[in-house]
Symmetry: C2
Subunit: 329 residues, 2 copies
Amino acid sequence: MRIAIDAMGGDHAPGLIVQGALEAAKEWPDVQLVLVGDKTAIEPLLKEGLPSNVTLHHADEVIGADDEPVRAVRRKKGSSMVIAGQLVKDKQVDAMLSAGNTGALMTTGLLVVGRMEGIERPALAPILPTMGSGGVLSLDMGANMDAKPEHLLQYAIMGSIYRAKVHGVQNPRVGLLNVGSEAKKGNELTKAAYELLENAPIQFVGNVESRDVFDGKCDVLVCDGFAGNILLKAMEGTAGAIFSTLKEAFGSSLLTKLAAAIMLPKLKTLKQKLDYKEHGGAPLLGLNGLVIKCHGSSDAYAVKNAVRQARIALQANLTESISAEINRK
Amino acid sequence: MRIAIDAMGGDHAPGLIVQGALEAAKEWPDVQLVLVGDKTAIEPLLKEGLPSNVTLHHADEVIGADDEPVRAVRRKKGSSMVIAGQLVKDKQVDAMLSAGNTGALMTTGLLVVGRMEGIERPALAPILPTMGSGGVLSLDMGANMDAKPEHLLQYAIMGSIYRAKVHGVQNPRVGLLNVGSEAKKGNELTKAAYELLENAPIQFVGNVESRDVFDGKCDVLVCDGFAGNILLKAMEGTAGAIFSTLKEAFGSSLLTKLAAAIMLPKLKTLKQKLDYKEHGGAPLLGLNGLVIKCHGSSDAYAVKNAVRQARIALQANLTESISAEINRK
């Protein structure tokens, strides 16, 4: 299996991206990696030369974090991200990873890689943290702002297959993000989606309120990209506000500094648990090939982990399985 | 000014509701209070008899926390909540308060009190906490699930007037809840609302992401009721999950219990700060009279505070000011 890595995307590109790729290549000799990026920047990082299962594909341009996504993808045809997408499109690789500009990667997925037949809207599906260990695969977290009930149905099917194939969750429980737990609650979108989900080939467990997401009531959470973004960033903002206030409180006197010293390891664990960035790359589901968004702050470990994730998905024929289910009806 | 109080609504009704009303009556002799509820339950609470500025209006029925809102309001015409609403409708009082069933109160507002002329959808407007002291008046937090851009414009105007008249905020900053800070971001609703807000007679400060709500970037936050509910409950759920994990961590050994003892006062302050229930009653704006939703867990202090809030709003001619602005265009 062949995986392209956008070596130029992310806060630590190309250094830690290339390092992660080399570590992954060593760990999984059955994987062929293609590093896409500026060879003058990458070659100096390859002190021991290229391993036999890694190739370098030169790209002149880079899409930056502040580039306007659609414009950047249209104009920067020679960028590492767009070229990696083109390699997926041309079936020269089976998957691509990038820690670059999220909007641009979603656009690359849509305009370069292309939608899977039968899918109307691809969805971004990160794992949100739960207080238990499993997390919840949540989609759509921002690829598509105005969803229709049928899109939510497709998200549910894709998320369910991903969770089963990649995470080994048997018969994943699918919840619908909503304003109340009762069946009749919601806006027009969720009320219509509820009926579709009840009749879908998934284990639908009903509505889930945003305050209950942490409880792990479902393995897959379905919502439109607008609501998903509000949810994700509200969780992030609340946790951030609490931790910064705690930090201040712990630093206010000698005694509280003592308390801080005692609590530090536990607080660190909690902070990591709550950080959705810790939970691996987010697949962009519904495309003609596998695209994984790694967080912008990804280090070598995160990149290696994303390769592991892509490898499992490819071994399990994820894309083909989704396509078969979507086009079965 | 005359204010009706639903004496039977809330977790601590009628005991603490009546107690709060009596304290308010004592503090503000210029207010006439009407206690609406079952006289056999209320009379034993009036050990010193009724103060001269309090009257008792008997109501046979009660709408419970689990009653289906629309059905309850339609069928229980003799309930304390519906009768209080009817008193507002008939101009026998200027305002009403209730700590009862939120859905039923919104329905009472719509079906009994009635919409203000020119207003398409009333909105529920609680104060969400911010890390600074002011909080942010946020609307709509659940009265209306499917909003149009024009509704968001009306929310902005109503919220702005409320914040100025009741909280004394000069020229309140109004933000639009959205998925990014740039002007072109959002779904169809927020993109269209953005243009309307730019041209409205308010101080529009642009889009606000859910992760930035705590920062106090605006005094009024506008959104549709679905997104508002997702935001509110995500903040609540995240804070709850963090505090319960902290509690566990603090209880895990003798040393951490020591740390807990040191930190307890600060943690309590933080918890209160984050609790939107601490921030007074939430007005239901856009009705033919003032309706204030007190939190279900309201005690005497909260009820007294809600009377204070209603008194300020009535003194400032809130409803008339909103009506004048809405119908000016």
